[in-house]
Protein backbone atom coordinates (compact mmCIF):
# COMPACT_ATOMS: atom_id res chain seq x y z
CA UNK A 1 0.00 0.00 0.00
CA UNK A 2 1.07 3.58 -0.53
CA UNK A 3 2.18 5.52 2.49
CA UNK A 4 2.77 9.17 3.37
CA UNK A 5 6.28 9.34 4.79
CA UNK A 6 6.80 13.06 5.20
CA UNK A 7 5.47 16.56 4.73
CA UNK A 8 7.28 19.71 3.73
CA UNK A 9 6.01 23.28 3.94
CA UNK A 10 7.80 25.91 1.89
CA UNK A 11 7.37 29.41 0.55
CA UNK A 12 7.40 29.70 -3.24
CA UNK A 13 8.69 33.22 -3.92
CA UNK A 14 9.54 33.73 -7.65
CA UNK A 15 12.97 35.43 -7.16
CA UNK A 16 14.15 32.37 -5.20
CA UNK A 17 13.72 30.43 -8.44
CA UNK A 18 15.42 33.18 -10.42
CA UNK A 19 18.37 33.19 -7.97
CA UNK A 20 18.81 29.44 -8.52
CA UNK A 21 18.39 29.68 -12.30
CA UNK A 22 20.95 32.50 -12.57
CA UNK A 23 23.52 31.04 -10.16
CA UNK A 24 23.13 33.81 -7.57
CA UNK A 25 22.59 31.71 -4.47
CA UNK A 26 26.03 32.53 -3.04
CA UNK A 27 25.54 36.29 -3.34
CA UNK A 28 25.31 38.14 -0.02
CA UNK A 29 21.61 38.89 -0.51
CA UNK A 30 20.69 35.24 -1.07
CA UNK A 31 23.30 33.27 0.88
CA UNK A 32 21.55 33.40 4.30
CA UNK A 33 18.36 32.05 2.74
CA UNK A 34 20.05 29.24 0.84
CA UNK A 35 22.21 28.19 3.79
CA UNK A 36 18.99 27.25 5.53
CA UNK A 37 17.94 25.16 2.55
CA UNK A 38 21.10 23.01 2.63
CA UNK A 39 19.86 20.67 5.33
CA UNK A 40 16.50 20.34 3.57
CA UNK A 41 18.24 19.30 0.36
CA UNK A 42 20.40 16.76 2.16
CA UNK A 43 17.33 15.31 3.86
CA UNK A 44 15.43 15.20 0.57
CA UNK A 45 18.34 13.44 -1.17
CA UNK A 46 18.36 10.78 1.56
CA UNK A 47 14.58 10.48 1.68
CA UNK A 48 13.54 10.89 -1.94
CA UNK A 49 9.98 9.61 -2.19
CA UNK A 50 8.49 7.63 -5.07
CA UNK A 51 5.94 10.41 -5.65
CA UNK A 52 5.34 13.92 -4.34
CA UNK A 53 1.94 15.54 -4.00
CA UNK A 54 2.54 19.28 -4.26
CA UNK A 55 -0.08 21.74 -3.01
CA UNK A 56 0.24 25.25 -4.45
CA UNK A 57 -1.67 28.11 -5.95
CA UNK A 58 -1.58 29.23 -9.55
CA UNK A 59 -0.91 32.97 -9.99
CA UNK A 60 -3.10 33.82 -12.99
CA UNK A 61 -1.03 31.62 -15.28
CA UNK A 62 -2.71 28.25 -15.91
CA UNK A 63 -6.08 29.67 -14.82
CA UNK A 64 -7.41 33.11 -15.77
CA UNK A 65 -10.54 34.96 -14.76
CA UNK A 66 -12.71 32.62 -16.86
CA UNK A 67 -12.85 29.91 -14.22
CA UNK A 68 -11.41 29.71 -10.78
CA UNK A 69 -11.51 26.24 -9.24
CA UNK A 70 -11.22 26.24 -5.46
CA UNK A 71 -9.46 22.85 -5.44
CA UNK A 72 -8.07 21.19 -8.55
CA UNK A 73 -5.88 18.16 -9.21
CA UNK A 74 -3.61 17.63 -12.21
CA UNK A 75 -3.93 14.11 -13.62
CA UNK A 76 -1.74 14.55 -16.73
CA UNK A 77 1.40 12.51 -17.51
CA UNK A 78 3.41 15.73 -17.60
CA UNK A 79 3.25 19.45 -16.90
CA UNK A 80 5.30 22.11 -18.69
CA UNK A 81 6.62 25.14 -16.76
CA UNK A 82 4.50 28.24 -17.52
CA UNK A 83 5.72 31.33 -19.35
CA UNK A 84 5.06 34.02 -16.75
CA UNK A 85 5.94 36.91 -19.03
CA UNK A 86 9.70 36.40 -19.36
CA UNK A 87 9.83 32.89 -20.81
CA UNK A 88 9.38 29.61 -18.91
CA UNK A 89 11.83 28.85 -16.09
CA UNK A 90 14.71 26.68 -17.35
CA UNK A 91 13.65 23.68 -15.29
CA UNK A 92 12.67 20.17 -16.38
CA UNK A 93 9.18 19.27 -17.46
CA UNK A 94 7.36 17.80 -14.47
CA UNK A 95 6.33 14.17 -14.76
CA UNK A 96 2.95 13.51 -13.20
CA UNK A 97 1.63 10.23 -11.87
CA UNK A 98 -1.71 9.72 -13.65
CA UNK A 99 -2.55 6.46 -11.92
CA UNK A 100 -2.20 7.80 -8.38
CA UNK A 101 -3.62 11.18 -9.42
CA UNK A 102 -6.80 9.60 -10.78
CA UNK A 103 -7.07 7.47 -7.66
CA UNK A 104 -6.80 10.64 -5.57
CA UNK A 105 -9.36 12.46 -7.72
CA UNK A 106 -11.88 9.62 -7.47
CA UNK A 107 -11.27 8.98 -3.78
CA UNK A 108 -11.49 12.64 -2.84
CA UNK A 109 -14.69 13.28 -4.77
CA UNK A 110 -16.33 10.19 -3.27
CA UNK A 111 -15.07 11.42 0.11
CA UNK A 112 -17.12 14.60 -0.61
CA UNK A 113 -14.33 16.94 -1.69
CA UNK A 114 -15.46 18.37 -5.02
CA UNK A 115 -12.16 18.47 -6.91
CA UNK A 116 -11.82 19.95 -10.38
CA UNK A 117 -9.99 17.47 -12.60
CA UNK A 118 -7.36 19.02 -14.88
CA UNK A 119 -6.01 17.10 -17.86
CA UNK A 120 -3.91 19.90 -19.32
CA UNK A 121 -2.17 22.74 -17.56
CA UNK A 122 1.14 24.46 -17.14
CA UNK A 123 2.71 24.92 -13.71
CA UNK A 124 4.03 28.28 -12.55
CA UNK A 125 6.59 29.37 -9.94
CA UNK A 126 4.23 28.35 -7.13
CA UNK A 127 4.94 24.78 -8.18
CA UNK A 128 8.47 24.83 -9.60
CA UNK A 129 10.20 27.01 -6.98
CA UNK A 130 9.64 24.55 -4.09
CA UNK A 131 10.95 21.74 -6.32
CA UNK A 132 14.08 23.79 -7.05
CA UNK A 133 14.51 24.57 -3.34
CA UNK A 134 14.37 20.88 -2.45
CA UNK A 135 16.07 19.28 -5.46
CA UNK A 136 18.37 22.03 -6.79
CA UNK A 137 19.30 22.32 -10.46
CA UNK A 138 18.70 18.95 -12.06
CA UNK A 139 18.28 17.56 -15.57
CA UNK A 140 15.14 15.82 -14.49
CA UNK A 141 13.13 15.88 -11.28
CA UNK A 142 13.92 12.79 -9.22
CA UNK A 143 10.29 11.68 -8.87
CA UNK A 144 6.84 12.26 -10.36
CA UNK A 145 4.85 15.10 -8.80
CA UNK A 146 1.07 15.44 -8.62
CA UNK A 147 -0.22 19.04 -8.51
CA UNK A 148 -3.04 20.02 -6.17
CA UNK A 149 -4.06 23.58 -7.03
CA UNK A 150 -5.80 25.81 -4.50
CA UNK A 151 -7.40 29.15 -5.30
CA UNK A 152 -6.01 31.86 -3.07
CA UNK A 153 -5.94 34.75 -5.57
CA UNK A 154 -9.71 35.32 -5.80
CA UNK A 155 -11.34 35.95 -2.44
CA UNK A 156 -12.45 33.85 -0.67
CA UNK A 157 -9.95 31.02 -0.65
CA UNK A 158 -11.01 27.83 1.12
CA UNK A 159 -10.77 28.07 4.90
CA UNK A 160 -7.88 26.63 6.86
CA UNK A 161 -10.30 24.15 8.40
CA UNK A 162 -11.43 22.93 4.98
CA UNK A 163 -7.84 22.64 3.79
CA UNK A 164 -6.93 20.58 6.84
CA UNK A 165 -9.88 18.26 6.19
CA UNK A 166 -8.83 17.93 2.54
CA UNK A 167 -5.34 17.01 3.68
CA UNK A 168 -6.77 14.31 5.93
CA UNK A 169 -8.76 12.97 2.97
CA UNK A 170 -5.61 12.98 0.82
CA UNK A 171 -3.89 10.97 3.57
CA UNK A 172 -6.73 8.42 3.53
CA UNK A 173 -6.73 8.26 -0.27
CA UNK A 174 -2.99 7.63 -0.44
CA UNK A 175 -3.25 4.92 2.21
CA UNK A 176 -5.88 3.13 0.10
CA UNK A 177 -3.79 3.04 -3.08
CA UNK A 178 -2.75 -0.54 -3.84
CA UNK A 179 0.86 0.03 -4.87
CA UNK A 180 3.85 0.25 -2.56
CA UNK A 181 4.73 3.90 -2.94
CA UNK A 182 6.36 6.28 -0.53
CA UNK A 183 4.70 9.68 -0.84
CA UNK A 184 5.80 13.10 0.44
CA UNK A 185 3.23 15.89 0.57
CA UNK A 186 4.38 19.47 0.04
CA UNK A 187 2.36 22.48 1.15
CA UNK A 188 3.57 25.75 -0.29
CA UNK A 189 2.98 29.52 -0.12
CA UNK A 190 3.33 32.14 2.58
CA UNK A 191 4.63 33.29 4.88
CA UNK A 192 3.53 36.82 5.80
CA UNK A 193 3.51 39.15 2.80
CA UNK A 194 1.39 41.72 1.04
CA UNK A 195 2.15 42.63 -2.55
CA UNK A 196 -0.29 45.48 -3.20
CA UNK A 197 -1.43 48.81 -1.81
CA UNK A 198 0.08 51.27 0.64
CA UNK A 199 0.66 48.39 3.03
CA UNK A 200 2.84 46.53 0.50
CA UNK A 201 5.88 44.97 2.10
CA UNK A 202 4.13 43.98 5.29
CA UNK A 203 5.97 41.30 7.28
CA UNK A 204 4.91 39.87 10.65
CA UNK A 205 7.69 37.73 12.05
CA UNK A 206 5.93 37.13 15.35
CA UNK A 207 2.87 35.74 13.57
CA UNK A 208 4.99 33.57 11.27
CA UNK A 209 7.08 32.09 14.09
CA UNK A 210 4.01 31.32 16.16
CA UNK A 211 2.39 29.66 13.12
CA UNK A 212 5.49 27.50 12.60
CA UNK A 213 5.58 26.59 16.29
CA UNK A 214 2.00 25.37 16.28
CA UNK A 215 1.29 23.74 12.93
CA UNK A 216 3.27 20.61 13.78
CA UNK A 217 2.19 19.73 17.33
CA UNK A 218 -1.16 21.52 17.43
CA UNK A 219 -2.53 22.38 13.98
CA UNK A 220 -6.10 22.46 15.22
CA UNK A 221 -5.32 25.50 17.36
CA UNK A 222 -4.80 27.45 14.09
CA UNK A 223 -7.89 26.30 12.24
CA UNK A 224 -10.20 29.01 13.53
CA UNK A 225 -8.09 31.81 12.05
CA UNK A 226 -10.35 33.60 9.58
CA UNK A 227 -9.23 35.04 6.26
CA UNK A 228 -9.50 38.49 7.81
CA UNK A 229 -7.23 37.37 10.66
CA UNK A 230 -4.60 36.36 8.09
CA UNK A 231 -5.02 39.51 5.99
CA UNK A 232 -4.82 41.74 9.05
CA UNK A 233 -1.84 40.03 10.66
CA UNK A 234 0.04 38.51 7.72
CA UNK A 235 -1.04 40.51 4.65
CA UNK A 236 -3.32 39.82 1.73
CA UNK A 237 -1.02 37.12 0.37
CA UNK A 238 -0.26 35.73 3.85
CA UNK A 239 -3.55 33.91 3.43
CA UNK A 240 -1.62 31.44 1.25
CA UNK A 241 -0.71 29.76 4.54
CA UNK A 242 -4.01 27.85 4.41
CA UNK A 243 -2.27 25.56 1.94
CA UNK A 244 0.13 24.37 4.63
CA UNK A 245 -2.84 22.71 6.37
CA UNK A 246 -3.37 20.39 3.41
CA UNK A 247 0.17 19.09 3.90
CA UNK A 248 -0.29 18.87 7.66
CA UNK A 249 -3.65 17.12 7.39
CA UNK A 250 -2.16 14.41 5.19
CA UNK A 251 0.32 13.50 7.94
CA UNK A 252 -0.33 11.52 11.09
CA UNK A 253 -1.65 13.21 14.20
CA UNK A 254 1.82 13.04 15.71
CA UNK A 255 4.80 14.19 13.71
CA UNK A 256 8.34 15.16 14.48
CA UNK A 257 10.12 18.13 13.03
CA UNK A 258 13.28 17.36 11.06
CA UNK A 259 14.26 20.86 10.01
CA UNK A 260 13.03 24.43 10.09
CA UNK A 261 14.20 27.62 8.43
CA UNK A 262 12.78 31.14 8.55
CA UNK A 263 14.18 34.17 6.77
CA UNK A 264 13.14 37.77 6.15
CA UNK A 265 13.00 38.68 3.38
CA UNK A 266 13.17 37.17 -0.09
CA UNK A 267 12.10 40.05 -2.30
CA UNK A 268 8.74 41.12 -0.77
CA UNK A 269 8.08 38.03 1.34
CA UNK A 270 8.95 36.34 4.61
CA UNK A 271 9.98 32.78 3.83
CA UNK A 272 9.61 29.62 5.84
CA UNK A 273 10.40 25.96 5.40
CA UNK A 274 9.57 23.04 7.71
CA UNK A 275 10.04 19.31 7.26
CA UNK A 276 7.99 16.78 9.23
CA UNK A 277 8.21 13.03 9.35
CA UNK A 278 5.43 10.87 10.67
CA UNK A 279 6.31 9.55 14.14
Amino acid sequence: MAEVIAGVASSHVPPIGAAIDRGKTDEPYWAPLFEGYEKAREWMAENTPDVCVLVYNDHANAFGMEMIPTFAIGVAPEFEPADEGFGPRPVPTVQGHPELAWHLAESLILDEFDMTIVNEMTVDHGFTVPLSILFGQVDEWPCPVIPIVVNVTQYPPPTGKRCYALGQAIGRAIASFDQDLKVTVLGTGGMSHQLGGARAGLINEEFDRDFMDRIGPDPESLLDLTHTDYIRAAGTEGVELVMWFIMRGALDERVHEVHRHYHVAASNTATGLIIYEND
Binding site: F86, L195, G201, I231
Partner: protein, 122 residues
Amino acid sequence: MTSVKRDYDDIPGTYVFDGRRARQGYALNKFLKTLDDPEVREVFRRDEAGYLDRFSLSEEQRRAVLERDWNGLLELGGNVFYIWKLCVFDGCSMQYMGGQMSGMSEDEFRQMMLDGGRRQDG
Protein backbone atom coordinates in the same frame (compact mmCIF):
# COMPACT_ATOMS: atom_id res chain seq x y z
CA MET B 1 -23.51 41.58 -2.86
CA THR B 2 -21.99 45.04 -3.18
CA SER B 3 -23.90 46.26 -0.15
CA VAL B 4 -22.51 43.63 2.20
CA LYS B 5 -19.96 45.13 4.53
CA ARG B 6 -16.76 43.13 4.92
CA ASP B 7 -14.81 42.87 8.12
CA TYR B 8 -11.58 43.56 6.22
CA ASP B 9 -12.76 46.88 4.77
CA ASP B 10 -11.13 48.83 7.60
CA ILE B 11 -7.61 47.46 7.02
CA PRO B 12 -5.60 50.43 5.74
CA GLY B 13 -3.79 50.37 2.39
CA THR B 14 -5.25 46.98 1.51
CA TYR B 15 -7.29 45.76 -1.46
CA VAL B 16 -8.89 42.35 -1.07
CA PHE B 17 -9.75 40.90 -4.49
CA ASP B 18 -13.29 39.83 -3.69
CA GLY B 19 -16.39 39.55 -5.88
CA ARG B 20 -16.91 43.31 -5.87
CA ARG B 21 -13.46 43.90 -7.32
CA ALA B 22 -13.67 40.93 -9.69
CA ARG B 23 -16.84 42.40 -11.25
CA GLN B 24 -15.42 45.89 -11.42
CA GLY B 25 -12.11 44.75 -12.90
CA TYR B 26 -13.15 41.87 -15.14
CA ALA B 27 -12.27 43.54 -18.47
CA LEU B 28 -9.13 45.09 -16.99
CA ASN B 29 -7.85 41.74 -15.72
CA LYS B 30 -8.79 40.05 -18.99
CA PHE B 31 -6.62 42.61 -20.80
CA LEU B 32 -3.73 42.15 -18.36
CA LYS B 33 -3.87 38.38 -18.78
CA THR B 34 -3.35 38.70 -22.55
CA LEU B 35 0.15 40.04 -21.87
CA ASP B 36 1.13 36.39 -21.27
CA ASP B 37 1.34 36.04 -25.05
CA PRO B 38 4.63 37.29 -26.60
CA GLU B 39 2.82 38.30 -29.83
CA VAL B 40 0.32 40.36 -27.85
CA ARG B 41 3.16 42.04 -26.01
CA GLU B 42 4.57 43.21 -29.35
CA VAL B 43 1.19 44.54 -30.49
CA PHE B 44 0.69 46.34 -27.19
CA ARG B 45 4.22 47.75 -27.30
CA ARG B 46 3.63 49.27 -30.75
CA ASP B 47 0.31 50.93 -29.87
CA GLU B 48 -0.82 50.71 -26.26
CA ALA B 49 -3.94 52.89 -26.66
CA GLY B 50 -4.99 51.14 -29.85
CA TYR B 51 -4.69 47.71 -28.27
CA LEU B 52 -6.74 48.82 -25.26
CA ASP B 53 -9.63 49.70 -27.63
CA ARG B 54 -10.25 45.97 -27.93
CA PHE B 55 -11.33 45.80 -24.28
CA SER B 56 -14.30 47.48 -22.65
CA LEU B 57 -12.29 49.32 -20.03
CA SER B 58 -13.66 52.39 -18.27
CA GLU B 59 -11.94 55.68 -19.03
CA GLU B 60 -10.35 55.57 -15.58
CA GLN B 61 -9.03 52.06 -16.14
CA ARG B 62 -7.59 53.08 -19.53
CA ARG B 63 -5.87 56.05 -17.95
CA ALA B 64 -4.49 53.94 -15.11
CA VAL B 65 -2.99 51.45 -17.59
CA LEU B 66 -1.48 54.09 -19.87
CA GLU B 67 -0.10 56.16 -16.98
CA ARG B 68 1.03 53.13 -14.98
CA ASP B 69 -0.97 54.31 -11.99
CA TRP B 70 -0.26 51.16 -10.01
CA ASN B 71 -2.46 51.85 -7.01
CA GLY B 72 -5.17 53.15 -9.38
CA LEU B 73 -5.16 49.76 -11.08
CA LEU B 74 -5.84 48.11 -7.71
CA GLU B 75 -8.56 50.61 -6.84
CA LEU B 76 -10.25 50.05 -10.20
CA GLY B 77 -10.54 46.30 -9.78
CA GLY B 78 -7.16 45.01 -10.89
CA ASN B 79 -5.88 41.85 -9.24
CA VAL B 80 -2.30 42.20 -8.04
CA PHE B 81 -1.15 39.08 -9.92
CA TYR B 82 -2.67 40.42 -13.15
CA ILE B 83 -1.25 43.91 -12.56
CA TRP B 84 2.12 42.23 -12.06
CA LYS B 85 2.00 41.16 -15.73
CA LEU B 86 2.09 44.83 -16.77
CA CYS B 87 5.01 45.42 -14.42
CA VAL B 88 6.87 42.45 -15.97
CA PHE B 89 6.03 43.86 -19.41
CA ASP B 90 7.77 47.10 -18.36
CA GLY B 91 10.75 45.14 -17.03
CA CYS B 92 10.09 46.24 -13.46
CA SER B 93 10.55 44.30 -10.23
CA MET B 94 8.00 43.44 -7.56
CA GLN B 95 9.92 45.71 -5.21
CA TYR B 96 9.52 48.59 -7.70
CA MET B 97 5.78 47.91 -7.85
CA GLY B 98 5.53 47.68 -4.05
CA GLY B 99 7.39 50.97 -3.76
CA GLN B 100 5.15 52.66 -6.31
CA MET B 101 2.07 51.47 -4.47
CA SER B 102 3.32 52.68 -1.10
CA GLY B 103 5.02 55.94 -2.06
CA MET B 104 8.65 54.83 -1.90
CA SER B 105 11.51 54.44 -4.35
CA GLU B 106 12.58 50.93 -5.26
CA ASP B 107 15.76 51.37 -3.21
CA GLU B 108 13.82 52.58 -0.16
CA PHE B 109 11.44 49.64 -0.49
CA ARG B 110 14.30 47.18 -0.86
CA GLN B 111 15.99 48.61 2.24
CA MET B 112 12.73 48.39 4.21
CA MET B 113 12.48 44.69 3.31
CA LEU B 114 16.11 44.10 4.34
CA ASP B 115 15.28 45.77 7.65
CA GLY B 116 12.48 43.30 8.33
CA GLY B 117 9.61 44.66 6.25
CA ARG B 118 6.71 46.95 6.97
CA ARG B 119 5.15 46.62 10.40
CA GLN B 120 1.57 45.59 10.85
CA ASP B 121 -0.77 48.55 11.11
CA GLY B 122 -4.24 47.22 10.79
